[in-house]
Amino acid sequence: MVKRAIIALLLVSVAWAADCGDYDVVLEIEAPPVTLAGAEFELSGEQIVFSGGACMEGDFGTLTADQISYNRQTEKLKASNVSGEVSGWRLTAPVLQGDAERMILENARLRRGDTELVAETVLLQGQEAQLAELQATTPRYRFKAARGQLQGDTFYAEEVWGTPCRCGKNLELLARRAEFAFADERLYLQRADLRAYGVDLARPEEMVLDLAQPIQLEFPFRLGYGNGWTFGVEKLPVMLPGEPFGHWSTHLTLLASGLGGSLIEGKTESFSLAIDYAKDDLTARFGLKPTRRWNGSSWDSWAEPDIFLRMAPLQLGIGWDRGTLTSTGYLLLSDTFEKGPARVAPFARFAWEPAHNGLSAGAGGDVSLPQYAAGPWSLEAKLPYLLALYPDAGPFLWGGGQVGLRYGKLFSLQAEVYRAYGAPRYSYESRTAREVLKLRAGKDGWWAAAGYHHSVRYSLADGAVSGQLVTYQVDLGWRDEWGSTSLGWKQKLIFDSDYDLLKGGETWRAGAVVEGHKVDGEWNHTWNSIGNDTRSEVWLTYLPPLADCAGGWRVSPSLGYDLLTGGFSRAGLQLEINDCCFTWQLGYLGVFDSASAGQPEGHNVTFSLRLR
């Protein structure tokens, strides 16, 4: 019958996936096979109504609704509060209207992972859905489009406008056509137009964006002052023809630092020049950094090479050792293999290092023991290891274990012990023997953590123990309706090979966040081997809350006071301006006493711009 055929035709055009057979009353239509079902069924005159939870099922799947009604005379189908799945998208719509020709969802929402589409209308046609007047939201972008089409894993849109901004449109993207490929989380734009503050930045023919990642707009220009100017570009993209916008393989660095300023001993001026290249499996960097340092009476000059090449399993590097002012280099062949719980990374390496030149070979990796869990308790352990063999020296073996014990989110304990036998010869295989213990406990409103760390370092030159480091750390925090408060203490002791103290330091820290206002105070205290104070500085910073959207700005002051000399050691001021898209930062830090502040004396100005 014609009327039945029409209802069938309407329903078969829906691409759903589930089963209506479980409903109390089921109406099946044979050709084509379509099913209407519901908790309640009523046939009265020309009107068929499924209510109390209804269902429509076509060849492709299932759509549910609060109610589905079909009038046999007017041949109209209507459903309310519709939901279901279309091409892998979770769909909801308050109303579905259908007639002999089409099936239309009004004000529909489609969700897939973190992406949401809202469309004024969705026209369903077989496995495809045509969307009109739509808005899309992904974790990093907002889009609008005049039209769109859903085809399985891909969503095509035309006349697209998009922005990575949280509000407003200071940075916007226009494109004639966009393809959202959800399978590989990529967005391909064609005939795009990238605009900032309404001004065209670029009109790339093709542009590829990562849907889950923010747009790659690293601000490459650098300007700063810290006893000499720093200026230039760092990782400036080189737009080679044929490369999609934002996915450039080549970057250029031209950066001068330390130019000008007062001539004090140790003042360094340098000029970095580098080209970075990364595409597919090849990563390369060719750089040179001519540098000169004032020794008090004349300049010492050198040129630091900065060369790196990786093409798995081969790696090559040429660098510079600042301590000995000599160049270093290595050629490494290494690959990683995994088999069950074991990971093995064999290597062969030829190195030119200040301590030695020569060959090394061996393997590193770890073995993960199976996790043990009983109720809220869980226990996991890992056994890392490294073996290095040298043709001109005895082998070096390093290994140990780390164990993690956890009781839900309430408590965790981590213990590590590593031991070394023999002596490492090169930086690649250099490992410390150490013991580490970390405890953490916390509930909703509070947390407490404590840590202990002891490590033994070896000299690459003679293989002897060169020093030992011991740290203790305690942190406490709690949170209530007013905000949060935290307290911390950390002590760091450096010993020589005989366990005689060389120097020590500790930091006491107290911080509070009250209604978005963040105040931090630190007391940095260091002493020498005979226990005399070498530094005692109180450092206070205040960070007011930043308005969430456009026009928000804040000034954040910081001040350091030297308790030993009784004067200010450093002072800073940072201005931060948020528009909807960008955070602009201009900072100044004056360091008046380098010993107390723990950083070089002078005036430092920094500027940065980043996408919010």
Partner: protein
């Protein structure tokens, strides 16, 4: 649907003894003590008023109290009826057909059920046990009908198939019967899974009575 039920009713309404005569095929054994007549070779039960005859392979009856028949059947040009066992009690105005019932008429083809109860006074028929028919193409776990009012209650699992329209209506929740109402004049059907409470109470009570009677 209505007609099937009317036919059942007519057959058994006719069994009031005043309008009924019984002809034996062979022996007719009358027990003086109990007043029960047994026809071991069977016989024919005539409904004189409606001019219907039912053949049975075995008949036992007590005047004014009951008629029991085995392998009861009626074969005319237009009606084929069969029941394995028939038990009619004129005083209680109840008839019970058990062990398999089938009916075939011009309008109803291959109606089958395990059992049927007919409550003559209330004009209610209950069919139970693999209720099915080829025309109309339906099946149900049980069926209750107030045949004079044109009311039918299908108890799930039920299925109604209309080959011409190419549709099948089905339900499998035994707690959710389908209520059908046939308009006496136009024959138009109204159907609903929402059974009015008073209708449910009335019709479902016969299901209970039919169950108890088995």
């Amino acid at each position: 649907m209505k007609r099937i039920l009317l036919l059942f009713a007519t057959l058994l309404l006719a069994a009031e003894f005043a309008a009924i005569s019984i002809e034996p095929y062979g022996d007719s054994v009358y027990d003086l003590a109990s007043g029960v007549t047994t026809l071991p070779q069977g016989g024919v039960i005539h409904d004189n008023e409606n001019d219907l005859s039912i053949d049975a392979a075995f008949i036992e009856y007590k005047e004014g109290e009951y008629i029991k028949a085995k392998e009861a059947k009626m074969d005319t040009e237009t009606v084929h009826f069969a029941a394995a066992q028939l038990h009619y009690q004129p005083n209680a105005k109840e008839a019970q057909l058990t062990g398999g019932v089938s009916l075939d008429t011009e309008d109803i083809k291959e109606l089958k059920a395990q059992n049927a109860w007919i409550f003559l006074e209330d004009e209610i028929v209950v069919l139970s046990g693999k209720v099915s028919a080829a025309k109309p193409n339906l099946s149900a776990a049980r069926l209750v009908s107030a045949y004079q009012q044109g009311e039918v209650l299908l108890i799930a699992p039920y299925k109604y198939k209309d080959a011409k329209l190419g549709i099948t209506l089905s339900g499998k929740n035994p707690q959710k019967p389908l209520y059908l109402q046939f308009d006496q004049e136009t024959g138009e059907v109204t159907a609903s899974s929402k059974v009015p409470p008073q209708v449910a109470k009335r019709l479902l009570s016969y299901l209970e009575r039919a169950k108890e009677g088995q």
